[in-house]
Symmetry: D2
Subunit: 341 residues, 4 copies
């Protein structure tokens, strides 16, 4: 931490800052300059909130110079976290993982049909929402536990792993019972109670980035889960809010690349939510893997125009198949195989 | 709902859209044009998801022309919702309501001191966080139920009402037991399980706008609470994410004015979180009331530089006092008194 | 400037940074810490680009601690800049200035009618576009010099001052010939050639903030004009790009308040472009003045629904009159009169 | 165009809208519905400004259903625009074009060194700024015409084409004299006078997307150039403003993919400005081509840490070489060669 003082700060102001630093258990190190003084805080300052200095007389800024996240950082652990699922899929290693399935689990027929072609295309993880976070209380809210049972059945039949979203503590426990990966959605990225709860459930977690959250906040949210005892966390970029409605969101591909320079956790891309438009999913799936994503999660439906939710961002079966093939070729350029192949 | 077709859409495409409209229980009304056809959906289309039409062959756009929120809209109820608290404060009527207090409840002495000068300045509601949502797991997380007890004590001594934040279902029940208003924070605006839960608790709720949520999404989140049985909801604008770090957030004063044209619910402004800077709070408090806010919630602390959280956006006692006076004068220009005066 | 080093930076890295600082003509001041070293740059570092240090081995960040703008800052000049116009209007002093008129000058009748009621309502400056920046090449582009002549005529008849936009060097010279204030629009805020040019014309300039420019960039753009020799610059906040299309822009009222803490230049608010909606103009006009604006510029038209451009953000004559009255009352709360009254 | 009426609009309101449509030379087509009426405007409505209807009594919204850009749209011309340069480089065809060079032309030695390794790596276009748009008037502003002469010399020696930025009409004429492509920077994307001017110069133009401009506005800006007589326009995505300072901008890779679905013009990606960080350039270069970019423009410098501007987003020579190789492999997955290879 560096505390930069106003140019008109008095020696008393500087001393007051030093006193506060000492009170917090650290050693102050003032550096007088021609225009202003800066004061360093020596020691492991991770847990110190810069706000403790804002507003002290004469303080211009308090600048944290260590990352506030710890256990998820590459400084803490240089080797990549690898998450291994029951069906043998390893996420975060060399291989790029493909996850596909419908926005919502709707019927047994819909799900089994989808799981069959998703597996045939070469994906190893099946997605499908059983508990749906919907902007309007009047929209379809998902099948709940019945949906989980269908997912478990599809897993058993087709040898896939299963990922599905939890909305709250109760659904998280249900999801942990049936699924291989608990998904925390963008709207819950800073639902800290839920993060702590899934941190105690011992199941791998996929943490989606919030619509308007910085990469640092995303890592801190992951830190909540790891701190609660669960190191099996993967991140998922799914688009941020932008000013242009030509796409549903701004799929922030750079965030994938930048997160890989900051954390050892796997990073997945979601071009379906990222763009919201079917015709953009395949190019952006290629782009995400080209940028370094460890995997993709993509919506697909046997008949997208009949889907109960988000049909416009689901691939047709043949498109899903083509996407896996193209993504595999891009991964190869980076020297990476597809998982399960 | 209007479904606008591509200019090259075929008659079969148009008929398929009409068929889907009929299947959903509505009546299609096609309008052929020189360049393209639009198809109206007649009936109460509130619950129809436009996504049901996206992706159908030949469809360019599906445009909802009724608001998807219902019970919170001015069309549903023209008269303003007025929320009456135990200490006589009425929120949403003519009078502008002043709420003040520390970011976090820290100690009995800190809270009682604050409550005393907040009441003396003319405010009628005391704020103070007992359960704190913190970006980092290493930051101070609040006193929990002990904080609620201190709030209740301050209320009894100074005749104030109390507002404090709930983070999850468990804390919501505790808050409902001790406080007059349950606050739902920005990060939980779309925590739909929590919204439904506070919709059943029967306590007034203040719903803060999410960092990157539209006014429409905010109203739909309020609709969740009302739909669950609780009509006593007030909205609170507290700043949206922007690109300029000269302020902590962009305090979206226009959102206050525009919300008042769309809903009968009271709208409160929070210039502390909105700006994140002490020197901007008083001007922006005046601005929010000038724009039509029904009240303000402002952070204040007896010694802001000693605060355990967010001290840089808390007013000094004298500043709080001045703010109430100035805001009262602005309210008077609009023909509104301050609550409790 | 503070250069913060990576924790694994070597003594050679530190020395290389010091050497560069010396080469730039300043004195380095290294401060070793337990985790990392920071190096101060002593001297008047305003002109040093932090990018000169980014990318040097071992450098984590270079942090400018002096404002990069100079002459427009409050540190440079504590007293407010006051701009005096030919008709006696003083901008930037105690009085709040009202400017009104149509988006575009359309006809003599339209302009004279508008000027008459604008003056009668109590405004002292007439706005009206003669050169129009239009997103589409197929939209109405303005009357050009004929429009300027009409503005000059209205000025003479009604004793108003005149403000109108220049788009390029040629139109700037024409505008300087006919008008009292040259307006630089949001899209040209960083058209540096034009800024320098109007810096040499000797006419007061109103510099609108760009759609996505920070307050600091805005001040630096003003610095271009002042640096070129023209100290008569006023700023104008007119809304930034946001994610919610419920308003045309996000009218950033806080930017008015924050700019007043950074610069001695007058700051004007434009609630017409800021909101894009007629029903929000009056509340947001009140809010801007409540936040500390030195004046307002508002669109009004005798028949807004007949306007050739931007009719939906123009007030009806009676609304303009009411706005001036209400704004005057709000200004009074701050101890400020309206200009010309 | 569809004009959607308020549910309480009167028959007189509807008739007034119809009358206005007729007055504009089109045919109105009203469609009464149970809740509200919509009115279609039949004919080629491209030039009609929706704002002509906003604010008419009873009008809820006017929705343009044809694209407002014409000549740049895929509906106007289905075949891709191919721009051929003097050195044989074809932009917009099958081959992916690589452009590289320093942010600013600094010295003959710097530029010739760079041009040599840029050509050797396989790029066919040399970039380098001679006229620099700088946020601060105190930053280095470029060498001007001397820089252009150095670029021309490098072109002659190494067989490269040359691209460099024009800031205003005077520099545009100079650039047209020396360079193969005139670059219009992000800050000038809506400098309409400059767009018209380069539309008359007959040189290929690269139009960078503004920091906060929608894809539609970008296409309309290109339309200005084409409309003025110059069809040789390419677009360049270079990052939009975001809320997270972990990158300089948000490199909007999806905008490349979406633009390719809307226009026949070539689309180039600029991962240097897009990310602002050297370590992200190579992954994002791969991503842009994977998303469908027709080429890349990337900053590189023989000694980035000595660069007079933007050194932190310039590749080292070896990195540039590696990037071209990797991008070539990604292009191959899409069945595209690199230009000149």
């Amino acid at each position: 931490m560096l505390i930069v003082m106003h140019h008109e700060a008095t020696p008393e102001d500087v001393e007051a800052v030093c006193a506060r630093i000492r009170k917090l258990g650290f050693e102050p190190r003032p550096m007088p300059g021609e225009q202003r003084t800066a004061i360093g805080l020596v020691g492991n300052d991770g847990p110190v909130d810069p706000a403790r200095f804002h507003g002290l007389p004469g303080v211009l800024r308090a600048i944290p110079v260590s990352a506030p996240y710890k256990q998820v950082s590459l400084e803490w652990q240089a080797a990549p976290t690898i998450i291994e699922l029951a069906n043998g899929t390893r996420i975060g290693g060399d291989a790029v993982v493909m996850m596909g399935g419908p926005c919502s689990v709707e019927t047994e027929r819909q799900l089994m049909t989808t799981a069959e072609y998703v597996a045939a295309a070469g994906a190893t993880v099946l997605r499908g929402g059983a508990y749906k976070p919907r902007t309007s209380p009047y929209s379809f809210q998902g099948l709940g536990e019945d949906g989980l049972k269908l997912l478990a059945k599809a897993r058993d039949v087709f040898g896939l792993a299963v990922i599905t979203e939890a909305l709250d503590e109760a659904s998280a426990e249900k999801v942990a019972e049936y699924a291989d990966i608990i998904q925390i959605g963008a709207r819950n990225m800073q639902n800290f109670g839920l993060l702590k709860h899934v941190g105690r459930l011992g199941r791998p977690v996929m943490l989606k980035r919030g619509h308007a959250n910085t990469v640092k906040e995303w890592l801190l949210a992951a830190e909540y889960i790891v701190h609660a005892g669960n190191p099996q966390v993967m991140l998922c970029e799914r688009g941020i809010r932008g000013f242009d409605n030509v796409t549903r969101n701004v799929f922030d591909v750079s965030a994938i690349a930048v997160a890989k320079t900051m954390t050892h956790l796997p990073v997945i891309g979601d071009p379906s939510h990222g763009t919201g438009k079917r015709e953009l999913i395949v190019p952006m799936a290629r782009a995400a893997v080209a940028a370094g994503a460890d995997g993709l999660i993509v919506e697909t439906h046997p008949e997208p125009t009949e889907a109960l939710s988000d049909g416009q961002q689901a691939l047709y079966p043949q498109q899903f198949h083509d996407m896996v093939r193209q993504v595999g070729q891009v991964a190869q350029v980076l020297g990476r195989p597809l998982a399960g192949q």
